[in-house]
């Protein structure tokens, strides 16, 4: 075990604060988190936050304003290791699901009109690796308690995180759930990273894909499979886009080319 406590900072950019909240929700483990490492900054939980060198920065949320971009670049300069926590930081989150800039601008205008913002210029939401090098990704919407605690414990012991890379289906079968896709229900289990414990299918609710896509997500095959089951193209596309953030953009571009 390293002699000095790791200096860790937890930061929130644009998102629902669910990942920071989940850390607060670690409840009885919270004291251990604060004693195992030196928590230099964690806005949701403390007011005596310091701005200095860090061993690990945990960053939640997508980059959605100019100010956040600057803050993120500053965090990267100060931190040895940057961990993206949660779907928004990893892939951009639901707010990054606008497929092109024009569509985003149109929607920004629809919500906010022509107002000029004085505090910080808005940016189309992007995952943090759009601006900085990310050393490790902790997916989830929100991240999982067990997954976060074991990753944190591994980090403070100087070990790299070990996360599931396979899809939800594996965990779903561990829980012996009957496949919802086979029941003609639009389930994104095969495309979505495991780690949540297949919580939705356990409750008989299809996977919405909230942990973001796996490396090998076979969207083309699932797309045709769902088409054959009678789902509408737009409905499938939307469902796949909801939590895939910017990762889906490349897929749709590729898909469009192939269709031509």
């Amino acid at each position: 075990m390293p002699k000095d406590k790791l200096k860790i900072g937890i930061y929130e950019l644009t998102g629902c604060a669910g990942d920071a909240l989940l850390i607060v929700d670690c409840e009885e483990e919270l004291v251990n988190i604060f004693t195992a490492a030196s928590i230099e900054a964690f806005l949701m939980a403390k007011s005596d936050n310091r701005h200095g060198e860090l061993d690990v920065a945990l960053v939640e949320g997508s980059v959605s304003t100019e100010k956040e971009k600057e803050e993120l670049l500053d965090i990267r300069k100060r931190a040895r290791v940057v961990v993206a926590i949660g779907g928004c930081a990893c892939v951009g989150g639901p707010q990054a699901a606008f497929l092109d800039k024009k569509e985003w601008e149109k929607n920004l205008k629809k919500v906010y009109g022509n107002i000029e913002f004085s505090h910080s210029r808005p940016l189309q939401s992007k995952p943090i690796d759009a601006y900085i090098k990310v050393d490790c990704y902790l997916p989830g919407c929100p991240i999982g308690k067990a997954q976060f605690l074991s990753t944190f414990a591994r980090m403070v012991n100087g070990n790299p995180p070990e996360l599931f890379r396979f899809p939800v289906c594996v965990e779903c079968k561990w829980h012996e759930n009957d496949c919802l896709l086979n029941k003609d229900i639009l389930c994104l289990g095969p495309l979505t990273l495991a780690g949540c414990g297949s919580v939705c299918p356990n409750f008989n609710v299809p996977c919405f894909g909230c942990w973001g896509p796996t490396e090998e997500a076979n969207r083309t095959s699932e797309y045709y499979l769902l088409r054959e089951k009678g789902f509408d193209t737009e409905v499938i596309k939307n469902r796949m886009a909801n939590y895939s953030g910017t990762r889906i953009t490349e897929f749709f571009e590729q898909f469009r080319k192939e269709k031509r």
Binding site: L149, V170, P190, L225
Partner: protein, 352 residues
């Protein structure tokens, strides 16, 4: 081998007597499917269950469990999943599945995490009638001659009960009054008729004797690319297969000076990280390569070692794979027969 008669009405009282010392596990309803579960209320036993979603391997090696607790000083084995159990309602194919796992988990290294619970589990088999997806007749696993303690054949109003081991015999001795050892000519006739009826009920067949050669001959066949393209790499085929036994281990650490845990969970060779080695190199990067490995195991390699396939014809891959990559459709492709499966349609659709 002794064969006894048990009246249907006496089944639950029998189970009550014999399950005093051990946990009773049996198929129970899960939605419109079935799953093995611990049974306290016997009326929950699904006597008509054709197949459970997950085979009984889960009772021996749970999908995710702790192997040992460790600190900087040493480790302490955790065998908390080992307990005395009675497994009731297990069909011949699944008993064969356990017999295959017995071999696999006691090769060069004995695996106590499988073998200990296996030793402590009594197997009370139950006869079944096949549905459209069963093909255990093709794998010759439709009947069972070993691997059970008792086997119950359901003949409408009564059971014929085979005693397969001395432990099975001990169970009978706990409640000898329920059994009748005088079998009549009529009983034998009824049994023969039931067997004929069952034999004729199979809808799915696969010619396994041809499979090892066909696997070799089709090593470079284009259909492997087709199954690879459609495969969702969801690992479900391995999870539901009674003979898939691969696992991975993860060390889980805790804060606050608590001991770490080495967790063991089911794995699948169809998942991309399975064949990945240090440095990020992957020996089977493509799904087609991984699927070929899976089918080599099921249809070819085990045959050359043990003289039979490591498929028991339970039909679980047939009902589970969302894109219908399963023993039947792959066997059809190997034989050059027309394939009725989503993956074939997908290949045609995409090439359009």
């Amino acid at each position: 081998m002794r064969i006894l008669k048990l009246q249907k009405k006496d089944l639950f009282p029998l189970l009550k007597v014999i399950s005093r010392e051990a946990e009773l596990w049996a198929p129970t309803a899960k939605g419109d499917k079935f799953a093995y579960g611990r049974v306290l209320d016997f009326s929950r036993i699904a006597m008509d269950a054709v197949r459970t979603i997950i085979p009984p391997k889960k009772i021996m090696v749970p999908s995710l469990f702790n192997m040992f607790n460790f600190t900087e000083k040493g480790y302490q084995e955790d065998l908390s999943h080992v307990t005395d159990r009675i497994l009731f309602g297990i069909h011949p194919c699944d008993i064969h599945g356990l017999l295959i796992l017995d071999k696999l988990f006691s090769q060069a290294y004995l695996d106590p995490y499988y073998l200990e619970p296996r030793k402590k589990t009594l197997i009370l088999g139950l006869s079944c009638l096949p549905d459209a997806y069963c093909f255990c007749k093709s794998t010759h696993t439709d009947i069972i001659e070993e691997g059970y303690d008792l086997f119950f054949t359901d003949l409408e109003s009564y059971f014929l009960v085979w005693i397969g081991s001395s432990r099975g015999d001990d169970l009978i001795r706990l409640a000898p009054d329920f059994f009748d050892d005088k079998l009549t000519e009529k009983d034998i006739q009824t049994y023969t008729k039931w067997q004929e009826k069952r034999d004729n009920a199979f809808k799915t067949t696969v010619n396994f004797t041809r499979m090892p050669d066909l696997m070799e001959l089709n090593y470079k066949a284009p259909f492997w690319e087709e199954v690879g393209a459609a495969c969702l790499a969801c690992g479900s085929c391995s999870m539901v297969c009674p003979t898939c036994n691969c696992y991975n281990v993860v060390d889980k650490l805790f804060l606050g000076n608590k001991p770490g845990k080495r967790l063991r969970h089911w794995d699948s060779c169809t998942l991309p990280e399975y064949s990945e080695v240090a440095g990020g190199e992957n020996f089977r990067e493509h799904k087609s390569q991984r699927l070929k490995l899976w089918y080599t195991h099921k249809l070819q390699a085990y045959v050359s070692k043990y003289g039979k396939p490591s498929c028991v014809g339970c039909g679980r891959c047939l009902v589970t794979c969302p894109v219908q990559i399963h023993v039947k459709s792959v066997a059809d492709a190997l034989e050059g027969h027309p394939v009725e499966a989503f993956w074939k349609k997908f290949a045609q659709e995409v090439s359009k």
